[in-house]
């Protein structure tokens, strides 16, 4: 049945993403519901929470943040970027990705109109988003029931639908942009860039008075007009129809352009917008540093993603260093009214939360998490290269399998060190600018101390790729990372035994911002990484390639 039409086949291709993103994002919505109950135990704490949320009003409207639904809606604003990633990847890949692979040629050789092919694929993406929205809505409803939220099933489903609509806008926008790009990557990149621009545009009216007209240019503004999980605020039907119309317009124009252009080509741009024509060349050598060795090539491949992750990680660290002093008074008041939250931050930060460094230490807990997520993406790329046969010719050159694997790992290690060093420099500089007194040695320990954890998850990924295919390897690593995070984040609060806490890699990161580097732990993590990498290299040197 699932292979009986292009619509159903495309929907079938999305099945893992539907479940993964639907359930994953649903859990993201539930998690703030779980924490808010601990934050509003007293009227004073409730007031402090409202006050603290107002500090972050530039990010999202702080409406009814002392309710389950209101707080979840407020917090989900931060995760907007995360939610839109799947649709923008799916939209850019939908037609352009198939053209890249050549599979669209075969599909279009069938007796079907090009218009129908494109429409069925677009409809499948929208349908997938609706199912994801349904899952998110049901999970939000479940969360509301558990934590005694005051919204009903209809409200939760409207919340899911609103998310599906904003995702449909970005998916359709990516599809539209992919009509102008030769490859899917730039289409995804441009759409991601526009997503950031739209996020900023939406923020403008919350920061600058009388600037709502600017925010109206952003689709996210219309998404934020509906807050179905806050029954007193409700959904805005006009805003939701606007999102639907935007998705339909972008999708419709994309399909209209697609049926008129060459397959494998792009929509012709006016001459003044076109890049100068490339002239054929047989020039050799090209003198590119990145092709001098496996290590250099690996470094060349990792450079661009490392740059983006550096911006994210160093930016997060710098921002936290900057705001910690601004939040000091309100935070102290909030925490004094919530023992659960105090304990949580104490457990993460490892010290007195009334001290700036204590809160900052808890926030720095997220730095190794982000670096490890970066490592997981690079392990995914390694496994995909092997699965797609891109290692075959490299391994047919006189390079040992071990040196190829170690070259790739060394490039990842270099990128991890670069990210950590830049994070250190940014944190140090921002602390100096903000007049925040931080121990330099401890700051170095907190930023550079995440390197062993990045290497550990990468080594485990290389080890697992000796047996597992790309998807399974990435899935396993993501699960391990989530489990470690769970153990260290709420394990102490659940009074998990010390032996269980020690299973998490974050345990060995410790609280370096307050207590400095734990040399034994670092050496232990490095030893386990070396062991995993060694076994992984041994396995790789003996396995069938591309099978």
């Amino acid at each position: 049945m699932w292979l009986s039409s292009i619509f159903l086949k495309t929907l079938r291709d999305y099945r893992v993403a539907i479940l993964g993103w639907g359930i994953g994002m649903g859990l993201v919505v539930i998690s703030p519901m779980a924490s808010v109950t601990a934050l509003i135990t007293t009227p004073q704490a409730r007031q402090q929470l409202i006050s603290l949320a107002a500090t972050f009003a530039w990010n999202a409207d702080a409406i009814a943040v002392d309710t389950i639904g209101g707080y979840a809606t407020f917090k989900i604003g931060i995760f907007m970027f995360l939610i839109a990633i799947w649709p923008l990847l799916a939209g850019s890949r939908m037609l352009r990705g198939e053209e890249d692979r050549g599979s669209l040629d075969v599909l279009l050789s069938l007796p079907r109109r090009r218009l129908n092919v494109a429409l069925e694929k677009l409809a499948a993406m929208w349908a997938a988003l609706v199912v994801m929205g349904l899952l998110i809505g049901l999970l939000a409803f479940g969360g509301g029931k558990i934590f005694r939220g005051d919204f009903g099933l209809g409200d939760a489903l409207l919340f899911g639908l609103n998310l599906a609509l904003i995702c449909a806008v970005f998916g359709s926008l990516a599809l539209f942009i992919s009509q102008f790009t030769q490859e899917r990557g730039p289409a995804a990149g441009w759409t991601a860039g526009l997503l950031l621009v739209f996020i900023v545009l939406d923020m403008v009216h919350r920061v600058v008075p009388n600037s709502e007209w600017i925010s109206r240019l952003s689709p996210i503004y219309y998404y934020n007009l509906s807050k179905p999980l806050v029954p007193s605020y409700g959904a805005n039907a006009e805003a939701m129809v606007t999102l639907l119309a935007l998705a339909a317009i972008f999708g419709g124009i994309a399909v209209w352009l697609f049926v008129r252009r060459d397959i494998g080509g792009t929509v012709a741009l006016p001459r003044w917008l076109s890049l100068p024509e490339r002239r054929a060349s047989r020039a050799l050598p090209v003198g590119d540093w990145s092709v001098r060795s496996v290590y250099a090539r690996s470094l060349g491949m990792i450079a661009m993603p490392a740059l983006w992750w550096t911006l994210g990680i160093a930016g997060f660290a710098g921002w936290m260093v900057y705001v910690v002093q601004l939040m000091e008074t309100r935070l102290a008041g909030l925490l004094s009214g919530s023992s659960t939250m105090t304990n949580l931050i104490k457990n993460l930060g490892g010290g007195d939360v009334s001290v700036n460094a204590g809160f900052l230490s808890a926030m720095f807990f997220f730095l190794p998490l982000m670096l490890m997520a970066f490592a997981v993406t690079q392990v995914n790329r390694w496994a995909a290269d092997e699965g797609d046969g891109r290692l075959e010719l490299v391994l047919a050159a006189p390079q040992s399998r071990t040196s190829v694997l170690l070259g790739r790992f060394a490039a990842l290690g270099t990128a991890s060190i670069a990210i950590s060093v830049i994070t250190l420099l940014v944190s140090f500089e921002v602390a100096a600018l903000a007049g925040l007194n931080l121990d330099s040695a401890n700051l170095a320990a907190a930023t550079l101390g995440m390197i062993p954890l990045g290497l550990l998850i990468a080594a485990l990924g290389y080890l697992a790729s000796g047996w597992l295919r790309t998807a399974a390897d990435t899935g396993l690593l993501s699960f391990v990372l989530a489990a470690w995070f769970f153990i260290s984040f709420i394990g102490p609060e659940l009074k998990l035994p010390d032996a269980t806490l020690r299973l998490s890699a974050f345990y060995y990161y410790g609280t370096p911002l307050l207590h400095g580097l734990q040399v034994t732990s670092v050496l232990g993590v490095l030893a386990v990484s070396a062991l995993a990498l060694g076994i992984g290299a041994l396995r790789f040197s003996r396995k069938d390639i591309g099978v």
């Binding site: 020039a283 090539r297 075959e392 047919a396 050159a397 069938d544």
Partner: protein
């Protein structure tokens, strides 16, 4: 001459799926050896085992006396390899790819590399993902030849090349042979192998079914002639003609399909006695040859492997 490639009882399976079983052959230094077989017969599996990309369940392969698994690094220094399905970093240009593999080989003769690029008229400034199928194969072909390897192992090298580039490839193979280098190439087109190879091995369903000189293997090569006449003709009169192996009547005697093995002169002369509407001739694929002639021919199918 000494054997430079030795394959002995090489066996590989993919779980419950068939790979190859007990494949044995030798290739002498300086010869051009063709490895023939229909799609899925086990050609690529054999080649990937020889290149140590797969590990054999049993048996061994040696190149220049080095065990292909245990001494793969030594082997890769003297081998130029072209995979059947080239997959490379799609974001690198052809020039970057060639330079990368030149570096991985510790440097190559740049003048010869440039000569190869010129001969195949490759635009080195395009990204790999932007190349046509033929141009992708040119990049991989050039990287296989660019270090003048002692042994060339090429998996369906002419697939996707246009006739002009196929001729250029034939010239390269001839030059390699003249310089005493060894070429091992796989194909599923018999006539292509006939053109370039001195000896041929045929693999089917994972087993080597025949090996010998090109002339010996050509004995199995047949072609078909289909003739359409204006009216019915005595079909049986074609059976006894020279070169005719089998006759099939078409459209109540108004046409005839002949399985040919040998010159068509007698057939053409016999057909000329009747008003001919159309005449077509074609070489069947290797798969057809196996299906039509090998399958029903117990003697051939069960013929033991022999090394000429």
């Amino acid at each position: 001459m000494a054997a430079i490639i030795e394959v002995e009882k090489l066996t590989k399976s993919y779980g419950s799926k068939r790979g190859i079983a007990d494949v044995s052959f030798q290739v002498e230094e300086g010869e051009v050896f063709g490895f023939l077989g229909p799609n899925g017969a086990g050609k690529t599996t054999t080649i990937r085992l020889v290149m140590a990309l797969l590990r054999a369940d049993a048996g061994f392969a040696r190149i220049a006396g080095f065990d292909s698994w245990g001494k793969s690094l030594e082997i890769k220094r003297i081998v130029g390899y072209m995979p059947g399905e080239p997959a490379l970093d799609p974001n690198l240009t052809g020039g970057q790819i060639l330079e990368y593999f030149a570096h991985l080989r510790g440097g190559v003769d740049q003048a010869y590399l440039k000569e190869l690029v010129e001969r195949f008229e490759l635009d080195t400034s395009r990204k790999f993902r932007q190349y046509s199928t033929g141009n992708k194969r040119k990049v991989v072909l050039i990287q296989a030849f660019m270090h003048r390897p002692r042994v060339l192992i090429l998996d369906e090298p002419t697939s996707g090349l246009d006739p002009l580039n196929q001729q250029e490839f034939d010239r390269l193979v001839k030059e390699a042979r003249d310089e005493g280098r060894t070429v091992f190439l796989s194909s599923h087109v018999l006539s292509e192998v006939e053109k370039t190879c001195t000896r041929v091995g045929i693999i089917r369903d994972g087993r080597l079914v025949r090996i010998g000189g090109v002339s010996e293997v050509s004995a199995i090569k047949r072609y078909e002639i289909t003739i359409t006449f204006a009216g019915a003709v005595p079909v049986d009169s074609f059976k006894s003609l020279d070169g005719v192996a089998a006759v099939e009547s078409l459209d109540h005697g108004r046409g005839v399909r002949l399985a040919m093995q040998g010159p068509a002169d007698a057939v053409i002369k016999a057909a000329a006695r009747y008003p001919v509407v159309a005449l077509t001739s074609h070489e069947p694929s290797l798969e057809d040859i196996f299906l039509r002639y090998y399958e029903g021919d117990g003697a051939l199918a069960k013929e033991p492997q022999g090394v000429a």
